[in-house]
């Protein structure tokens, strides 16, 4: 074999095997199985196996009012959470980009929420905002603030999930943007200041253009991740009141594991995968200065 392919090729092949196996077995096969299931009717609780139904599940998608409603809730949640995380993350990153006393300690503390299990984050915020045992409603009552039943009305329930999400994921935004800020050339900043630019002008015209790429990546990552949010909703609101906090991920979870209709759940997964891919492609194309592919980068296109 060594003679046939040459020693180097053999080594290359051996080292590639784990990676290729991982991509095939853990990435590609489940994805292909999901595509296969999307054309099947399969109730895990009652059917002995999947049966072919063609595009029936896809036709059902367009008539599923609840799915459309959950898409609306998901978009609301994703946009708001990502926006707040970006603003807070950028602010914190700018703050930590300076020589603060105890900077490393502060940074370490800021990262704690991100390393907690999502279930723990959800439980913490469920207790914090709980009407009867929660310290936050208690403090609001102490200062004679308004009585807020966090999980009872549509908008406060959604807000409570956004608050928990912002608490958990702002540190990631901070970390990414801090890395980008530290890559900003100090010379250009100093030169701009020597030329009389104000702090705001330096940020707007010197710093921001240099971190736009990272902002795009961070926002993209968080936006897509927000589509996958499940634990917080299940623990904090259960998708309620009514269906007002039922995100697409919760809808899929319930379709698959509460109703056990695996075929239709797979169809929703595929549809949203395509939707997200399309959104992300347009998003990247719309970014100034972002080269979409290697060839575009080579030819300078895309910007």
């Amino acid at each position: 074999m060594g003679k046939l392919f040459g020693r180097q090729q053999l080594f290359l092949g051996v080292f590639l095997v784990p990676g290729v196996a991982y991509v095939l077995v853990w990435r590609l096969l489940p994805a292909l199985y999901t595509v296969y299931l999307s054309f099947m009717s399969y109730n895990l609780a009652f059917d002995p196996g999947p049966t072919w139904v063609g595009i029936r599940n896809y036709l059902q998608l367009v008539r599923d009012d609840n799915l459309l409603a959950s898409l609306g809730v998901t978009l609301k949640f994703s946009v708001l959470a990502t926006f707040v995380e970006l603003v807070l993350g950028l602010g914190t990153a700018i703050l930590l980009d300076r020589d603060l006393p105890l900077r490393n300690l502060i940074m370490g503390l800021c990262l704690v929420p991100m390393v907690l299990a999502p279930v723990a984050v959800a439980t913490i915020w469920y207790v914090l905002l709980h009407d009867f045992v929660g310290p936050i409603p208690h403090l609001i009552r102490l200062i004679h603030g308004p009585e807020i039943a966090w999980f009872t009305t549509s908008w406060t329930a959604l807000l409570s999930i956004i608050v928990a999400d912002v608490w958990e994921w702002t540190p990631l935004m901070t970390l990414l943007l801090l890395a980008a800020l530290q890559g900003v050339s100090r010379e250009t900043v100093e030169a701009a200041m020597v030329d009389g630019a104000s702090g705001l002008q330096v940020f707007r015209f010197v710093t921001l253009p240099q971190i736009t790429g990272m902002i795009a990546v961070a926002v993209g990552l968080r936006f897509m991740d927000a589509f996958l949010e499940l634990d917080k909703v299940l623990i904090m609101t259960g998708g309620g009141p009514g269906t007002s906090t039922e995100l697409v991920s919760v809808h899929i979870y319930r379709t698959a594991f509460q109703f056990f209709t695996l075929g239709y759940a797979a169809t929703i997964v595929i549809a949203f995968l395509v939707l997200l891919a399309v959104i992300y492609r347009f998003y990247l194309r719309a970014l100034p200065g972002y080269a979409f592919s290697a060839s575009e980068r080579m030819s300078g296109a895309g910007g």
Partner: protein, 464 residues
């Protein structure tokens, strides 16, 4: 041997030690177990009744060389896990906790081996003694076969604060307001009146004492999907179908009876704590156990164990229980027959041992000993145990309440066996919560729900 070969040997040895070393260490550290002991893995949930079963089973299994190891998952995850593991061919489990609502799916997928399959000898039949089970056992059966050993069946009941009901000032005020004596509710109208009467704000008085916190007339777990497992009893009591008419196979979620019921629930919901819709059964019981509610609707055994636990309850000895009220006379105290059993996993490697242990532990004698010696509040499914003079002599509050169920004439109903049931329940929960929280009117919530149910029935081919 070249230096390169030596390096390869060293690397190989290191890999070997890293791979097999921990296994060897673990083998040496694991305490020696009798070679003949068979361990049965039990997939269950974290209910005290099932911990008690494990203790009793291990005591009974010791002479047989059988032990039980319990793995807890959330109540509603047991069904999911059992179905997924069975589909994937996982052979880990021997015993599975079964709630009656899962019987149709477990039977359809053959996740459990029917108990009937083991009743091949007169000894086995005598030990299991199927004639001694309470009527709710039929909920653990499908197509005439028993899919689990009946374990416990507690009725859904109304708990009320006896101390408040006996308070002269409260009695007087109630009579002045409603024109009749304050007493355990016999009708749903009376339950609502009681709940409204006792709903008070912080600072108002209750039984002559000022309240430190808001006090609520009623508490019912209203988190999705738990809300429906209470609501369905009331729905039937109001004369409605359980979501569809089995004769025409048409959803009846927007029927006049259903509208009347949801209107009633919306009113009752106003007497509950504001976050009742996020409460599970356990949370609602704990809330009432903190002395914050005058009435509660929940499973008898869970209320009793929660309210009478001196470590967790502020109202020990203050709650009494009564049957679910009546709305229409033809359906007195309507209640669904809910039951829980322990089944034998179809892929178990130790089915014979599992049956032997179940039959022995849950035999009439086994259950009687269990109640008298270990668990006096156990809601047994053995008729002879419920009527046993020794058991009755314990005169526990729980048994008195359970006897009330057997003495009074109640309208018992069964749950449907269609595979779209979980979807229908989900839609029903949405409608209930949308109306209760004021997102939609009762009529609109039911109309929207009805439309979704009709879609499901059309897709399933039940209707055109």
């Amino acid at each position: 041997m070249s230096s390169r070969q030596i390096r390869l040997w060293i690397v190989g040895l290191l890999v070997g030690v890293l791979m097999f070393g921990p296994v060897q260490i673990w083998v040496h550290l694991t305490p020696a177990k009798a070679a003949s002991t068979v361990t049965l893995n039990f997939l269950a949930t974290d209910f005290p009744e099932y911990d008690a079963f494990v203790a009793a089973a291990n005591a009974a299994g010791k002479p047989m060389g059988i032990e039980v190891k319990k793995t807890n998952v959330n109540f509603d995850d047991v069904q999911k896990k059992a179905l997924l593991d069975f589909t994937s061919g996982v052979k880990t489990w021997d015993l599975i906790f079964l709630n009656s609502s899962w019987t149709p799916s477990f039977a359809a997928r053959k996740v459990l081996t029917p108990i009937d399959d083991f009743l091949t000898t007169p000894e086995a039949k005598a030990l299991v003694n199927p004639t001694d089970f309470v009527p709710a056992t039929k909920q653990l059966m499908s197509h005439g076969k028993l899919y689990s050993m009946p374990y416990l069946s507690a009725p859904l009941m109304v708990a009320y604060r006896k101390d408040l009901f006996d308070d002269p000032s409260e009695r007087q005020a109630f009579k002045a307001k409603y024109g009749y004596e304050l007493a355990p509710p016999k009708t749903y109208k009376e339950l609502l009146n009681i709940a409204k009467f006792f709903t008070r704000k912080k600072g108002e008085t209750l039984a002559g004492k000022p309240l430190d916190d808001d006090f609520y007339g009623n508490v019912i777990a209203s988190k999705k999907p738990f809300v429906f497992s209470r609501y369905e009893h009331m729905l039937v009591a109001f004369g409605a179908d359980l979501l569809y008419d089995p004769k025409t196979m048409r959803p009846t979620w927007d029927s006049p009876e259903s509208v009347a019921m949801l209107k009633y629930y919306v009113e009752l919901f106003k007497t509950m704590p504001s976050d009742a819709q996020t409460m599970t059964g356990g949370m609602s019981a704990r809330f009432a156990a903190q002395g914050r509610a005058a009435t509660a609707v929940h499973w008898l055994d869970l209320m009793y164990s929660g309210f009478e636990d001196p470590k967790a309850s502020k109202v020990v000895g203050k709650f009494a229980y009564t049957l679910l009220p009546t709305q229409i006379p033809s359906r007195p105290h309507a209640m669904g027959a809910d039951a829980n059993g322990i089944g034998i996993y179809a892929l178990s490697q130790h089915k014979t041992e599992a049956f032997k242990l179940l039959a022995e532990t849950l035999s009439t004698k086994g259950v009687k000993d269990f109640v008298l010696k270990n668990y006096p509040e156990f809601p047994s499914m053995r008729v002879s145990v419920l009527n046993d003079p020794g058991v009755i002599k314990t005169r526990s509050g729980l048994y008195q309440a359970m006897l009330m169920v057997t003495r009074e004439k109640s309208y018992l109903f069964s749950f449907p066996e269609i595979k779209e049931w979980a979807q229908l329940v989900d839609i029903a929960c949405d409608s209930i919560l949308e109306a209760s929280t004021g997102q939609k009117t009762v009529e609109q919530a039911l109309k929207d729900g009805q439309k979704r149910m009709v879609d499901i029935f059309k897709r399933a081919g039940y209707i055109k």
